[in-house]
């Protein structure tokens, strides 16, 4: 269907005009008015002699005028949370400018002005030709681009009928409802989705691990993942390792804190194989080979231990390093080694140290006392030994024991700087230098992104980073810590459950994909039957043991994708479209902008853009709540996510009543739940009490601890409001929304939520021992046999995931199409010149991109910014083609039954692996480039 043919013209669009013409006119109208207007009479007095001469200046004075200013921001998951003024002129959004009203934390520079080029481009992009303007139904084969325009009523009714068919036949589990970059961080939108999901029982894949973003190494070590501070904390640090992160590109509004800190005397050390824009401005650039970061970290641990640079008292109190470990089976010495199982349990279990004060075994403070509030890490008169070997009398005889610290020394010795220098390509002197600088700095920080999570063994890298921080006493102090991310505590989600209880089906996106997108088959094809079977055996064993839920009992039948371009980021790209998407009986996309996922959908529902809706954002990088207010009504027939879900709930309720569908039994986490789809709308709106996204915002403001209790209108008036208890750069105040319990552990000696109650560096789980992962150690990155180059990817400068990637102006600031960075020597070897189209390939697949040569790229690696939509590539296949690792689920990431280790959505579940592969490239054949526009 041509979108210019319409059933009935939407009020905003003249029926006779094409949509693009319409949008252009809309944009041009203010301009034309300006040019046609006479100079404004009220302008400043003119110089008498030059009056006529300078009259033309008024054209420009008039251009910088507007009718209205509305507060807003861009509700994407860049987590920028930038306060903007949105300027409305002649009924359209004309431009935006930073509000710039921020204060500061501690004595750090203020947070203002924030913002980036994507945000400043949004006033134009929202009127772009990629906008979905009204509900559309696919005609013919999915993905062929043929649509029928339909009404909201028809769309929701047809979707509701299919939804109810499937629920009656299979239960709601077979229907997924995914959210993505466009809406997941808009609090009212996400809560609306969650309430809808809680009522209906649809499956909500958790997106953190699904995109390989779950910092599970932190959960494994500290028993939580929300440990990061504000950006201002960077300024408090005296040495920052910027590692697995490229903030100059990915955290544009925050990047200045690093250079401010450098000017203030902080050593900013960038660690990355390629010369990143972050490396450009750092004090020092360290360039390990891709995939050898853990080797570098452990070599630094080696230096710190060898040169005795560690803070002994800190690790004695806070970590499990002084805990006693049996020499025979490498398990911690536990209460049951002294008593029968039942006696030990009655005694509260526990772990042990060797007390140097009394020269005897003693219970480790903080361990084994379960939820006892009185439990403390305080050592009192105890003086736990870090080094030594002892014999203790156990139930079954003498047990030889040592400390986890002694085992760490052995492990560290395997990572001597000279040895690791060969592996990493980093000179041993450089390793020593940065280890010493790091250990000497008070405080020292590791600023990391989500990149580590995208490697198969990224959890080990995070564990070794935390080890570096703990050994030097840097977990807890302001300006220290492992900075990866933080998100507001679950209290913001209360709206999803109010009056209906918790019946929410959240699941791991990675295991969902493994079960439903034929990932075992992908493993077989790439890595052979043996390895695929081995990984699968552990996967199935975990499910048999009850450590993980199984998603395979029921098929995947229907998917909602809300602001979610799932078919873009799925590591296997085109394959995923075939193996997963094509299998679905119904696909519904709810999006403001077209993309590959909506393109392969059966129904596309138009969603309001950032300046067309009310919502709010909370992100921990700044201590502010940020508003999105309605500057202009949504284009076409777009609605916000609250309303879209309301329309769906209405249709489901109406059709359930009309079809006489009664109560349906469901099971959530072993609990029986009864679902009455006839009441869908009443439940969703709290019997009509909640009428709009603004009402949802008000609910969140009223119920979320740490947010000033003000009317939404006041928030909309101000734009940003500072959260409570945020004077310091860390979230150490219990009252704050982002509070991290780590501070209580360090400051008040409250035990960690880990097996030992301490920072957990030694993990004696049977699987961890089996895979030699009880302590961190370098493991070889994966290699695709016969393919010599390692391809690295990262968040893009000119897009937030797939958003704004297709904006014409931002494309003009790049090369107009996807490009891949290549070292000139690697290119010359293959007779490739800058600007050539290259074919990138390995045993999993191939894709094409433009060669962009740069001497900043390490030889034998390729670098590509992510987020480019598959629709922008030849064969509609992006980089996902060569990411052969998507199905590799690391066995230890499926482990369970061990305190902090075990399935916890958004805390402990396997990441999808995106980076751990090799490939090659060549100049594309003329067949590929033939017939393309010059």
């Amino acid at each position: 269907m041509k979108r210019t043919q319409k059933m009935a013209s939407p009020p905003q669009m003249p029926a006779s005009k094409g949509r693009r013409t319409f949008l252009r006119q809309l944009l041009a109208s203010s301009t034309l008015l300006t040019l046609n207007h006479a100079p404004i009479a009220a302008s400043a007095p003119q110089p008498s002699g030059e009056k006529a001469y300078r009259n033309f200046e008024d054209i420009y004075r008039k251009k910088w005028t507007w009718d209205r200013v509305v507060r807003g921001t861009h509700g994407t998951n860049c987590a920028g949370n930038c306060a903007f003024n949105v300027y409305v002129k002649d009924g359209i959004v004309w431009r935006e400018e930073q509000q710039g009203v921020y204060g500061s934390s501690g004595d750090a520079p203020d947070y203002g002005p924030r913002g980036c080029q994507k945000g400043l481009r949004h006033s134009k992009y929202m009127y772009g030709s990629q906008r979905v303007l009204y509900p559309m139904k696919s005609i013919g084969e999915r993905g062929n681009g043929k649509w029928e325009r339909i009404s909201w009523h028809q769309a929701t009714t047809e979707i509701a009928d299919k939804f109810l068919d499937l629920v009656v036949a299979h239960g709601p589990e077979c229907i997924s409802y995914g959210s993505g970059t466009q809406m997941a961080l808009k609090r009212a939108s996400f809560c609306s989705l969650a309430r809808f999901a809680n009522i209906t029982g649809v499956t909500v894949p958790e997106f953190l691990s699904g995109v390989g973003d779950l910092p599970s190494g932190i959960q494994m070590t500290l028993g939580q993942i929300h440990t990061s501070d504000t950006m201002a904390a960077v300024y408090k640090s005296r040495c920052v390792l910027v590692w697995m992160s490229n903030p100059a590109v990915t955290r544009i509004p925050d990047a200045h804190f690093f250079w401010d800190a450098k000017y203030n005397g902080t050593e900013v050390i960038a660690i990355s194989p390629e010369f990143t824009p972050t490396a450009m401005h750092s004090s020092l650039w360290v360039n390990p080979k891709p995939g050898t970061d853990t080797a570098l970290a452990m070599a630094m641990v080696n230096v710190i231990l060898e040169e005795r640079l560690f803070k002994a008292n800190y690790i004695r109190e806070q970590s499990d390093l002084p805990l006693l470990v049996r020499m025979d089976n490498k398990r911690f010495l536990r209460a049951e080694d002294f008593a029968t199982q039942s006696d030990a349990t009655a005694d509260g279990g526990g772990f042990y140290i060797w007390d140097e004060a009394t020269d005897s075994v003693a219970r480790a403070p903080g361990s084994g006392t379960g939820n006892d509030q009185a439990a403390t890490l305080k050592l009192g008169k105890l003086r736990p030994a870090l080094e030594g070997r002892w014999r203790v009398q156990g139930l079954d005889g003498v047990i030889e024991v040592t400390t986890a610290f002694e085992l760490l020394k052995v492990r560290a010795a395997e990572h001597a700087p000279e040895l690791m220098s060969e592996l990493t390509g980093v000179n041993a002197n450089v390793i020593r230098k940065i280890a010493r600088t790091f250990a000497a700095a008070e405080p020292a920080m590791i600023f990391s992104g989500y990149a580590a999570c995208k490697w198969l063994h990224g959890d080990i890298l995070q564990r070794s980073m935390l080890l570096l921080l703990s050994l030097t006493g840097n977990i807890g102090p302001e300006g220290g810590g492992l900075q990866i991310g933080n998100s507001a505590k679950t209290q913001t989600m209360a709206f999803a459950f109010d009056g209906i209880g918790v019946a929410f089906r959240g699941i791991s996106g990675t295991t969902w994909d493994y079960d439903h997108a034929k990932m075992k088959q992908l493993n077989q094809e790439t890595y052979g039957k043996k390895l695929a079977q081995e990984f699968d055996d552990y996967y199935q064993e975990s499910i048999r043991k009850g450590w993980y839920p199984s998603h395979s009992s029921k098929g995947w039948k229907m998917g909602f994708f809300a602001g979610n371009n799932g078919a873009n980021w799925r590591a296997s790209g085109k394959r995923w479209r075939k193996s997963a998407l094509e299998e679905l009986e119904l696909i519904v996309s709810l999006v403001p902008d077209a993309g590959v996922t909506s393109h392969y959908s059966d129904y596309v529902l138009p969603i309001a853009h950032h300046y067309e809706r009310a919502d709010m954002m909370l992100q921990s990088r700044t201590p502010y709540v940020q508003v999105l207010d309605v500057a202009v009504p949504p284009l076409g027939e777009a609605v916000d996510d609250w309303e879209a879900n309301r329309l769906l709930a209405e249709a489901i309720g109406r059709r359930a009543k009309e079809r006489g569908i009664g109560i349906i039994d469901d099971v959530i986490d072993g609990r029986r739940v009864q679902r009455d789809y006839r009441r869908c709308l009443e439940l969703y709106t709290m019997n009509g009490k909640i009428k709009s996204a603004k009402d949802v915002c008000q609910y969140i403001i009223d119920t979320t601890p740490g947010i000033p209790k003000i009317p939404f209108a006041e928030l909309a008036e101000k734009g940003v409001v500072r959260v409570n208890g945020s004077e310091r750069t860390t979230w150490d105040d219990k009252e704050t929304t982002y509070h991290s319990e780590v501070f209580e552990s360090v400051r008040d000696k409250v035990p960690y939520q880990t097996v030992s109650g301490r920072q957990s560096f030694y993990i004696d789980h049977e699987w961890f021992l089996e895979f030699d992962e009880a302590l961190p150690a370098h493991k070889k990155p994966l290699h695709n046999e016969g393919y010599p180059l390692r391809m690295m990817m990262g968040h893009a400068r000119h897009g937030i995931h797939s958003m704004w990637r297709d904006d014409s102006f931002l494309l003009s600031l790049q090369r107009g199409e996807p490009d891949i960075y290549i070292n000139p020597d690697d290119a010359a070897e293959r007779d490739v010149k800058d600007g050539d189209t290259v074919r990138i390939f390995n045993d999993a697949g191939e894709f094409f991109a433009m060669a962009h040569l740069s001497a900043g790229i390490q030889p034998s690696m390729l670098f590509m910014y992510h987020g480019w939509d598959p629709m922008m590539f030849r064969n509609r296949q992006n980089f996902g083609a060569v990411i052969s690792t998507a199905g590799l689920i690391k066995p230890t990431s499926m482990a369970g039954g061990y305190g902090q280790i075990g399935y916890k959505p958004a805390r402990f579940s396997p990441n999808q692996t995106y980076k751990d592969f090799t490939c090659d490239f060549e100049k594309a054949s003329e067949e590929v480039t033939a017939g393309e526009p010059a």
């Binding site: 949509r19 301009t31 040019l35 007095p45 003119q46 110089p47 300078r54 033309f56 200046e57 420009y60 251009k63 710039g100 520079p109 203020d110 002005p113 980036c116 080029q117 400043l120 772009g128 030709s129 990629q130 681009g145 100059a248 544009i252 990047a255 200045h256 401010d260 450098k262 000017y263 203030n264 005397g265 960038a270 490396a279 450009m280 401005h281 004090s283 390509g425 000179n427 002197n429 393109h599 297709d806 014409s808 102006f809 003009s812 600031l813 790049q814 090369r815 107009g816 199409e817 960075y821 740069s854 001497a855 900043g856 030889p859 939509d869 629709m871 922008m872 509609r876 393309e932 010059a934």
Partner: protein, 328 residues
């Protein structure tokens, strides 16, 4: 009294995000004929820049005379192209999403194309706008006297009523910061956001810079950051002073992390060859780099440094000092 507004851009903080460029674009050049124009742009240096190879295009002054310059083609600027969304997403007439017209060159084509050899490669970002020169060669070159320099703030403007599109200014500007509008048939350029200045507001490129790296104020204001950085600390330098136009946009030169030696150990050698920085900023750059180095070292040792505090600019608004610009 004639005054001169000026800008200092700290290249040690510029991350090449193009927020400045985008702010300018959406404010001033969104009209027909302006598609290819970036009154403000950011380019990777070393590199051909925008327009392509502008540094080899002549213009400016030589021995007190205008130096002949070259007219840059529209193509050498690259262009903003539309994207075929309609055809791919809604019309089913095309398969691949792409620009309607394939780019051959662009304002930022060489983004992060690093020079030298890994791991001692080097590059940095250079934001550029009209320098609102004290001796503007464009003004001198205009045969119809359409260009003037405002007395109240030194902003150089092309009177759109008087301009006859002869393009003498385009060739005379050695920075190639004047653009010809093929629709209105006039030459156009950066106006230093004078309507904003008149309301005490800094230009959009500076005020909207999330990197907090641009200072705006009057050269004569001895208490302002501009005066201190340019005249007292002498760490802010004009670009290509040899062009002779006396620019009023100044740059704090970049210091990248030191280079590696042959063994892969950190050396004392700078990453960016000093010859290259002298080419861009003149001989004064040596002194500026030493001053920056000395002051950074003071901070490392826990001592105070007025210069570093100035460049950190804890209070964002302290970067802009614009007393009323009034037309008397």
């Amino acid at each position: 009294m004639a005054r001169q507004v000026a800008m200092v851009i700290d290249l040690n903080k510029c991350i090449g995000c193009h927020t400045c460029t985008t702010a300018c674009k959406s404010l001033w050049t969104d009209e027909p004929g302006q598609e290819y124009m970036l009154w403000h742009n950011v380019e990777t240096k070393p590199g051909p820049g925008y327009p392509e190879n502008w540094e080899a295009s002549g213009g400016g002054w030589e021995n007190g005379q205008l130096k002949p310059g070259q007219l840059m083609s529209k193509e050498s600027h690259g262009t903003e192209c539309s994207v075929n969304h309609e055809a791919v997403f809604f019309d089913a007439s095309e398969i691949r999403l792409r620009q309607d017209e394939k780019m051959k060159v662009g304002s930022n084509w060489n983004e992060d194309s690093s020079s030298g050899e890994y791991p001692n490669n080097y590059h940095f970002y250079l934001p550029r706008l009209c320098n609102h020169c004290t001796k503007p060669s464009c003004l001198e070159a205009c045969p119809v006297r359409a260009i003037y320099k405002r007395e109240e703030d030194g902003v150089v403007l092309i009177d759109q009523d008087k301009c006859q599109g002869l393009r003498a200014c385009n060739t005379a500007c050695p920075y190639k910061k004047i653009y010809y509008n093929h629709v209105t048939k006039k030459s156009q350029k950066c106006i230093f956001c004078f309507p904003r200045l008149e309301k005490g507001e800094a230009p959009a490129c500076a005020k909207q810079c999330p990197g907090k790296l641009r200072f705006v104020g009057f050269l004569e204001d001895e208490d302002g950051p501009i005066h201190k950085l340019v005249y007292e600390w002498k760490v802010a330098l004009p670009l290509h002073p040899e062009y002779g136009t006396e620019p009023n946009v100044f740059y704090v030169p970049p210091i990248l992390p030191n280079a590696y030696d042959d063994n892969g150990d950190i050396s004392d050698d700078p990453r960016v060859p000093i010859e290259y920085l002298r080419q861009l900023f003149g001989e004064e750059v040596d002194g500026a780099l030493i001053t920056l180095d000395v002051e950074m070292e003071r901070k490392k040792q826990g001592k105070s440094s007025q210069l570093m505090d100035l460049l950190i600019a804890k209070d964002w608004k302290s970067m802009f000092n614009i007393p009323d610009v009034r037309i008397e």
